[in-house]
Symmetry: D3
Subunit: 299 residues, 6 copies
Amino acid sequence: MTQAAVHPPQSAVDAAVDLALAEDLLPLGDLSAALVDPLVIASLVIRSREDGVLAGRRCAEAAFARASAALEVHFHLDDGDAVSADTVVATIRGPLAAILPVERTALNFLSHLSGIARSTAKYVAAARKVNESTRILDTRKTLPGLRALQKAAVRAGGGTNHRANLSDAVMLKDNHLGALSITAAVTEAKHRWPGRMVEVECDRLEQAIEAVDAGATAVLLDNMDVKAVTEAVKAIRQRPWGSSVLIEVSGRVSLERVGEYAKAGVDLISVGALTHSVRVHDFGLDFEIDGANARPVGD
Amino acid sequence: MTQAAVHPPQSAVDAAVDLALAEDLLPLGDLSAALVDPLVIASLVIRSREDGVLAGRRCAEAAFARASAALEVHFHLDDGDAVSADTVVATIRGPLAAILPVERTALNFLSHLSGIARSTAKYVAAARKVNESTRILDTRKTLPGLRALQKAAVRAGGGTNHRANLSDAVMLKDNHLGALSITAAVTEAKHRWPGRMVEVECDRLEQAIEAVDAGATAVLLDNMDVKAVTEAVKAIRQRPWGSSVLIEVSGRVSLERVGEYAKAGVDLISVGALTHSVRVHDFGLDFEIDGANARPVGD
Amino acid sequence: MTQAAVHPPQSAVDAAVDLALAEDLLPLGDLSAALVDPLVIASLVIRSREDGVLAGRRCAEAAFARASAALEVHFHLDDGDAVSADTVVATIRGPLAAILPVERTALNFLSHLSGIARSTAKYVAAARKVNESTRILDTRKTLPGLRALQKAAVRAGGGTNHRANLSDAVMLKDNHLGALSITAAVTEAKHRWPGRMVEVECDRLEQAIEAVDAGATAVLLDNMDVKAVTEAVKAIRQRPWGSSVLIEVSGRVSLERVGEYAKAGVDLISVGALTHSVRVHDFGLDFEIDGANARPVGD
Amino acid sequence: MTQAAVHPPQSAVDAAVDLALAEDLLPLGDLSAALVDPLVIASLVIRSREDGVLAGRRCAEAAFARASAALEVHFHLDDGDAVSADTVVATIRGPLAAILPVERTALNFLSHLSGIARSTAKYVAAARKVNESTRILDTRKTLPGLRALQKAAVRAGGGTNHRANLSDAVMLKDNHLGALSITAAVTEAKHRWPGRMVEVECDRLEQAIEAVDAGATAVLLDNMDVKAVTEAVKAIRQRPWGSSVLIEVSGRVSLERVGEYAKAGVDLISVGALTHSVRVHDFGLDFEIDGANARPVGD
Amino acid sequence: MTQAAVHPPQSAVDAAVDLALAEDLLPLGDLSAALVDPLVIASLVIRSREDGVLAGRRCAEAAFARASAALEVHFHLDDGDAVSADTVVATIRGPLAAILPVERTALNFLSHLSGIARSTAKYVAAARKVNESTRILDTRKTLPGLRALQKAAVRAGGGTNHRANLSDAVMLKDNHLGALSITAAVTEAKHRWPGRMVEVECDRLEQAIEAVDAGATAVLLDNMDVKAVTEAVKAIRQRPWGSSVLIEVSGRVSLERVGEYAKAGVDLISVGALTHSVRVHDFGLDFEIDGANARPVGD
Amino acid sequence: MTQAAVHPPQSAVDAAVDLALAEDLLPLGDLSAALVDPLVIASLVIRSREDGVLAGRRCAEAAFARASAALEVHFHLDDGDAVSADTVVATIRGPLAAILPVERTALNFLSHLSGIARSTAKYVAAARKVNESTRILDTRKTLPGLRALQKAAVRAGGGTNHRANLSDAVMLKDNHLGALSITAAVTEAKHRWPGRMVEVECDRLEQAIEAVDAGATAVLLDNMDVKAVTEAVKAIRQRPWGSSVLIEVSGRVSLERVGEYAKAGVDLISVGALTHSVRVHDFGLDFEIDGANARPVGD
């Protein structure tokens, strides 16, 4: 996996960081940092306090870069790298009065996005232990305005991106079909959008069989139990296109049960919680003031 | 509490909804909804699937309003109202092809913000059971770009907003003080920013006493155990200004232990997890197509 | 084809119209229209002056809507509808002083986007005459900032959208492959981006065969002459996956030769000129001032 | 002509490039380039494939600059310089994985804007051959959002900018005049907007004479044939202000007939097609991978 | 003068009002208004407290419109109308809790822009008393981001807009000329920018004469005393083009001396202070709560 | 006072400068500067022409930085520094053609913001002469879009910022109170917004006494004469909390009378005119062209 693959587009980084700094600093700036002697130089060490995977480096770098050209910012790890308790992630050195106004913003990005990466990595490991070819997918259940960053964090955690938005793939549900049969709908969708993924959400095996035979790229087995999924996988693989169709399961698959679904032979397991219910990754900040002793700082 | 008090500023709502819809629909629009017969009329019922508190109504309304002027949108509850499993929160009626492109965006807002409100309400209840006057505070550990919405959701849950950003209050930590004593720093901060909150983060009781005597508005007892906090509260209340100073505790106070801190007599307990580690509130969507039977829909 | 399918997302419409009106009216407004008696009421008829296909209606409507709530705007046709010389496309009625500042902007959208639709329709007709299943594709050779609108206009003309951007499909060229073989690259791309189109640009038949065998969704035969394409199609169709792989040709296919390529049995013909070299569709504006005679107006 | 005169304002360049890159790269980035080994270094040569005039350099530079600080970008020519088949316009060197995500965007700007410059230069040459003092003007028939860039490209081609928007000059048409006579309207316009161009669009000679006598800065002879224009020029030049008034013709003046109008002695010939119906200038891209042979690349 | 002539472009109004409301309400909204009973209905009367001219109506209307659709907003006067002490300008009625968050923003626009209109009207009256044809001009010395609004306010006060920006007219100063003579520079400028104003800033009469003879549209007599200006006007008017050239004076012309310059026969007097040094117009707000007595409110 | 304390947040600077340059340069750029030989190098000296205090340095620097990387920009003073007639504030050296398009924008910022600083400094000096502890406050009567910059300029002048917006403090007026007593309203406000300033606007002494006893952070004595204020201060100071409550006066306090109010012992005097009615600070620009003599330049 190249580094480009785990970073979000820079324009998404810049937009999010600008927004975050504006909401923390406007209109009067950092009242407290303005009390600090501008000549005081400090080093800030960002340290992981738990096991996980780094994500959000570009956002943190952008936040420090906007603070002052006088800051030296060194990240010792990149997105996708494993961290554990006490791993030093980054060191920032420069005027304390320039670091203070942006450190919380930088940390908010790092801890949220690394939280996604850590959680994704756990799902990926759980699936892979059982079935090397099963991949963990994210969903469109992302936090408003943060989709590009959250989807990059999923990649950093070893996960795989499902469709990014309503514009890049076709997903057919009962409501979409209306009077059309699955066969007719898949045919129409493939005609209009040649080459794009056409996936059909299925509650029952017969629907999945019809979708596969109609040439769907993928079928989504929604809210089926492991037994039903296992049978469906077998039945689907026996169809003429069955070996190439992608089989996805979704529906609150917990970390505990992800292995069971992987064992059933599905290609893809999508997990909304990766992005909609994120526990932060815990990072600590240690400031060392020149000529003073180190001490930890929180908010 | 008036309704105005639990809603975010409309400009924050509009900006977030525009961003969220753009990231879900650009550049080609909803490929799947474009397959739907534009004459099909549907009703969408949004239903809570668990106990909690509603938040995010204005965002959901804005998303549906942008979809089509032809949609009738009725919210049966407002932000701050309690919901339980099966409570119908809202009903939307109009062309199915207009509802589908925005329902996920509307739900992403509702479920994240109601998740914050639910969690806040639990902390508030736990504190109040023990001490009527202890309030639960949020922090600046918010998700980038979502601070105004998240802080409004905290209010919807009965919580109280700490400073909104670095610009509206002074918070003094060791790093800020440098060569200055707490007394000198508080005096300077009060002089520069008359009337604004000047809070001092303290690791030890002596610091807190000095801050109170210097006229700090509030002291933050950081990462102290319940016993130390109990003693500190007693000592502080005996100072000349001790009855009016606000005493805050912070440092990963869990829901289980919030009562103990409240019992210690603190005024404020700040909880970063309210906004940095949010589990979504679970809502279900039921579509009823005119002339067809209702069925649940997910993504 | 539903109407939703031929319109661009509304947020793309709004952004483009706001930009266009700002660049025509800031900072002093319409100096000339300010000379017009505000009580004069006029009707403006937009009339096609040539054969073609309408596109851009939503943009024109948005421009008039921003001018004044007092304007009555009626479009008699929608995007995708055929027009010919003298077809009345729309009628706008209201204060002349409100119509004048936006009519050029509305027309700039209509004439550019309908130009795309007209040209697309010609290619589509030429291909379809020979081969019902060959589709005409656009490319990423679009005008900066106008991609969503241009791609919708291609759909209005009966064309088909290729990938919308670098983010929604994989296109492998020699440069991307580097040390990897086509087989290895296609395998890796399909693994990382399950379900998404993976297309391989090929200069020679052997490459195309390798790509098809590796499971590529599509092969792009670039700059091959009709004879070479005809042979390639035959060879590809005989491979195990040959019936389902999409075969695309590109490379300055002229309107005159599009039939020959369609006859060769390709699925897709992509034409950069549809969006990069657009001749406007010619519309005329007839103003009729209340109590005065109609007369044509240009700029 | 100074270089400043042929470049658009930098804020217009930045806004357009940001928009173009966002629409090509959001939300997931360049899926294909992410497969490329980040250590591969390449040189990209941009070469003209036809005769013409360069425009758009600043946009292309901005696109490459946003890609990576590691790219070395050298333009060998500037806007306004002549190019012919095989002229090397620019050389870019750096990580291939950084060049690929922006090369199409850079080229979209260069080819559209140089297309305008080439076409303008042809009109200018055709007019100048006959009449040194006749200038070729653009119009407000520009593509939405691209006016500043398109008008700069016209200047690069040796053309002259007409009014930039409705806010910087007065253009009186029949509709504007209403009950006012031409004389009264010109007088009023000159009074309100002292020093600004006041031009009157005329269908008949009498109108032009009245406009000139009233003190109009310019008269626009709209859709008159060459004979009528020749006579009008003679008649106008004999008026007291006739030598200083600007005489413009418009109305689909083709490249073939531009000389005839120039010969008639008009000062200005405005041509909407310069910006509304642009054929791209053809540029080729040659990639040379370090340690590999050069080969051409398209899209 | 039509109403359109005194209003700024709506996009300038909307942008400024959005900015102003965001800076007053983000992130937590109006803390104080949230205490108000949402059922209380109030009427707000905006009353002038001094003589002057109204400007800024569209901005105030936009502010109230964004507050709530439930507000009834009636302006009894429009921009350009005279007001005096006790003139009722507008009445707003609706929920008090909706009025309070925007009334200061609305008033900030009205009082600043009406301040410009009042001051402009005084200069215009002083000049007109002496010389009907002398007009008062604004300059580019405007407040950042407010140019379109400030220039519209100058029009509301009866003043005349000079060039709006560096892009719509040519102004030649010594620095621009460099090695070129005035004659050469004017000739070049007129050639490049046919029809646009070409003005030459002159310190000495000889320069002005050369500029007029070269065909400048206007000459700016900068920082000359009344006597020198009087002589210059005489000398210029005797030149062949002297009757049509515009003669402008500038250089801190006070209200007291504006009549003397008008008497000297100049066409235009530009006054930077109109927009750079504005004293607000004084408006009062009277709230009448339903069922309560009226009382004045300030901030 | 640290430098950070007198500068606005950089994002406010950038946004304002981008807006200001766009409104001065779009769409065609600086027509006049484009006539200047690009090889001419010039030095521009910005010199104060009157006594006062510098503010706006960061805005001016940002404007020059956007003009060209080739400019060397040296400010010899920082915001908050005293200037007098002939003080050289800054020197800019580089291509004249790059300086000219931005010098007016830079100066517009400097002269407006330094005007605020100068005026503030006069009020501060007048108060301080009489009472060391009385501070001069700004208000929310700021110019739309410029609040962050104007409030920073007040700090540069030695003034003190009142609440920045409706979101960061509570101000109770009669209208807010409605049926609530002052005591009830203050209690509620303090409960909801712990630690934030709760100020009560009072017309009569009894109100002020009630507010102080209820625990208000501050009382605003509005439009009271000096005698009434003097008595009120005495009465308030005798209350239990009277020594710590902040006493503010407002209501068109002139520079002449500010000393009298300070003598009365108030803590804070707020002056709307500091930001709503600003007279610019007068700066002069001297250009020195390489190889030519210096001469002053205006607009």
